[in-house]
């Protein structure tokens, strides 16, 4: 069954068509790669799904329910979560408090609810930052800040996680480690869409790749098929390489 259905999504900014009539289906337990050169509209698709942008046209359904005009917090409550491309931890809060914020109930009456220290530790441990819980985000190296973003997302207990360029700025060893962790999330029953601008970290990880180019659907297939696809090669020729 499809967990996420994006139907004929169009998003324009003034005269600029950032996403043009794009459709995507994600099945339970899948890891789908969404790739495309910089500026092709990948983050815009995520922003539309998460309710950050009003869509110009099209429909988005999660578990069969229309979420097109829901607000972000309602969408998160339904079990969708996104790790954005830019890290934005709250610098005044420690790693552990940053994670705790994402476990708080959306209720003005819950004055002392939220995850226990032990539960926060578990979220952190799933992405291997449990020994950084008492540090401040500004003290962390880049890769750990990115891991904190994932831990925050995990703390909302999502069914489907959208990861926007999780490998950006990481070295080869860190990419391998993160890919293995994402693989483990899938074994725990999570469905995921992973955005990257090239195939680098995705080749081994994803079941399926969808390619966006200039806001248009360009191709879909297994990683091997996409790597061999002429149209995809051509789209990437202008800018950076596909691998």
């Amino acid at each position: 069954m499809s967990v996420l259905e994006v139907d004929n999504l169009t998003k324009t900014f003034g005269g600029l068509v950032a996403v043009d009539d794009f459709s995507l289906e994600v099945d339970e337990g899948e890891i789908v790669g969404l790739i495309g050169p910089n500026g092709s509209g990948k983050s815009t698709v995520f922003n539309c799904i998460m309710g950050l942008y009003d869509v110009t046209d099209g429909e988005i359904r999660f578990n069969g329910v229309d979420i097109t005009s829901d607000s972000t917090h309602q969408i998160v409550a339904k079990g969708l979560s996104r790790v954005s491309q830019e890290s934005n931890p709250i610098d005044l809060y420690s790693v552990s408090e940053n994670i705790r914020l994402f476990t708080l109930p959306n209720s003005i009456r819950s004055l002392h609810g939220g995850a226990s220290d032990e539960e926060i530790r578990e979220y952190a441990a799933r992405i291997d930052i449990e020994d950084k819980l008492h540090e401040m985000p500004s003290e962390l190296p880049h890769a750990d800040v990115r891991r904190l973003e994932i831990a925050k997302s995990l703390a909302t207990e999502p069914e489907l996680m959208l990861l926007d360029e999780p490998f950006a700025g990481m070295n080869q060893a860190e990419i391998g480690e993160l890919a293995a962790q994402i693989e483990r999330f899938r074994e725990d029953g999570m469905t995921m869409v992973v955005v990257d601008h090239n195939m680098g970290g995705l080749m081994e990880l994803v079941d399926r790749v969808v390619v966006l180019n200039n806001g248009d659907f360009l191709a879909a297939g297994t990683p091997a098929e996409i790597a061999a696809d002429d149209a995809v090669q051509e789209a990437y020729l202008a800018g950076e390489g596909l691998q």
């Binding site: 934005n88 408090e97 002392h112 939220g114």
Partner: protein
């Protein structure tokens, strides 16, 4: 023209550069040694009080915030001082120009205003320039009830209706504006208080410029009057501190620091902003009712004028925004300076001096005086052991 600006710019930057260096030297040569000496003196007190503070931290700490021994001591002494002021202030007062109890009563009311402003503006970062419209709504409701309905109504009736009126005005301001971004929220609160001010001065049915003299003061006994103001203030401080140290405070600060992250956490920012505004309106209303009982007069310049809103902000800034207790301390500092220490000067001169202090705090101690002192007290033991 451009060269003048350039010249001015150079002059300003050299002066501020100089100031920065002077401040740096001051800090190294004077403040640090003084701080270290104080620390050496205070460390034993901290150690003595530590077991008591630990007991507090285990039982009430999770609800009102943890404290070190010294911090606990300072709070205990302050609360004891406020509770016994009715007895010691008349003796100490003459040294400070007399009328100290009156000043402390007034400071209690302003502490309520500044703390109420803080739980909304200081915590969420949605800065309100119009909070005096809320206390004004309460004050005018009391006056109108006494003048137009029944002069013998009990304070419990007029007071409750007045607090409700503050809440309604608060919702009227908050509901349409809290979704707005950037400076619009602040501008609208600003316009709201200007409107309210003109409304009260324009219509004689609303009292006009002289306002209403009919409401009675609570009492003419200075000691009793002080406790009428100080006890509600302490209870409000307790309630707001409890709220601020709960999940609510954490979420409100997160809204200030990064509102999209709050949405991404599955929390509805609008709901929490609205709640903080309501939580602010109720004590603003209580403060307004107390101010009626203090002055016995409800008029635009005591209650509504925008300067009042700005003064609340100034007090919160001096004490330290988003800490509740900082603004409380700020109110006592501000009022004691205004009415005791500077009592020999004319009103304009006093305010000139007070605004210079606000500016000084904004430039050199952005976290506020009492917040800075609080953190210093908390750090004493860490450095002496």
């Amino acid at each position: 023209m451009i060269s003048t600006i350039l010249l001015l710019g150079t002059v300003c930057s050299t002066v501020t550069g100089r100031l920065g260096r002077v401040a740096g030297t001051l800090r190294r040569q004077v403040l640090w040694p003084v701080g270290r000496t104080l620390e050496r003196l205070l460390a034993p007190i901290d150690r003595v009080l530590d077991p008591v503070a630990d007991g507090y931290n285990r039982s009430l700490g999770p609800y009102f915030g943890e404290m070190s021994g010294l911090q606990f001591g300072v709070i205990a002494v302050s609360v004891a001082g406020l509770l016994t002021a009715g007895y010691w202030a008349p003796m100490v007062g003459p040294l400070l120009g007399g009328g100290l109890l009156r000043t402390l009563a007034l400071a209690s009311i302003w502490a309520i205003f500044a703390m109420s402003w803080d739980i909304q503006s200081g915590y969420t970062g949605y800065i309100s320039f119009g909070h005096s419209a809320l206390s004004g709504a309460a004050g005018y409701t009391t006056a109108l009830l006494i003048v137009h309905v029944d002069p013998t109504l009990s304070i419990w009736v007029t007071g409750s209706v007045s607090v409700l009126a503050a809440l309604v005005v608060g919702l009227l301001i908050a509901l349409p504006t809290l979704r707005l971004e950037g400076p619009y929220f602040s501008l609208i609160t600003f316009v709201a208080v200007l409107l309210f001010y003109r409304l009260t001065t324009a219509f004689s049915s609303l009292g006009g410029i002289p306002g209403f003299g009919q409401p009675d003061v609570f009492t003419w006994d200075p000691m009793l009057r002080y406790y009428y103001m100080a006890i509600p203030m302490l209870l409000i401080a307790l309630a707001l501190t409890f709220m601020a140290r709960s999940n609510l405070g954490m979420i409100l600060i997160a809204i200030r620091e990064n509102e999209p992250a709050v949405s991404a956490a599955g929390l509805n920012p609008t709901k929490f902003k609205l709640w903080s505004f309501m939580l602010s309106s109720v004590p603003m209303g209580i403060g307004g009712v107390l101010l009626v009982g203090f002055t016995g007069n409800v008029d635009p310049s005591t209650f509504v004028v925008v300067d009042n809103s700005i003064e609340m902000i100034a007090i919160a800034v001096i004490g330290g925004m988003s800490s509740i207790l900082g603004p409380l301390g700020g109110a006592f500092l501000f009022e004691v300076l205004n009415h005791q220490v500077l009592h020999g000067y004319s009103t304009p001169v006093r305010y000139l001096f007070l605004w210079l202090i606000v500016l000084f705090v904004l430039v050199f101690a952005r976290d506020g005086l009492f917040r800075a002192i609080w953190h210093r007290l908390g750090a004493v033991r860490g450095e002496s052991e």
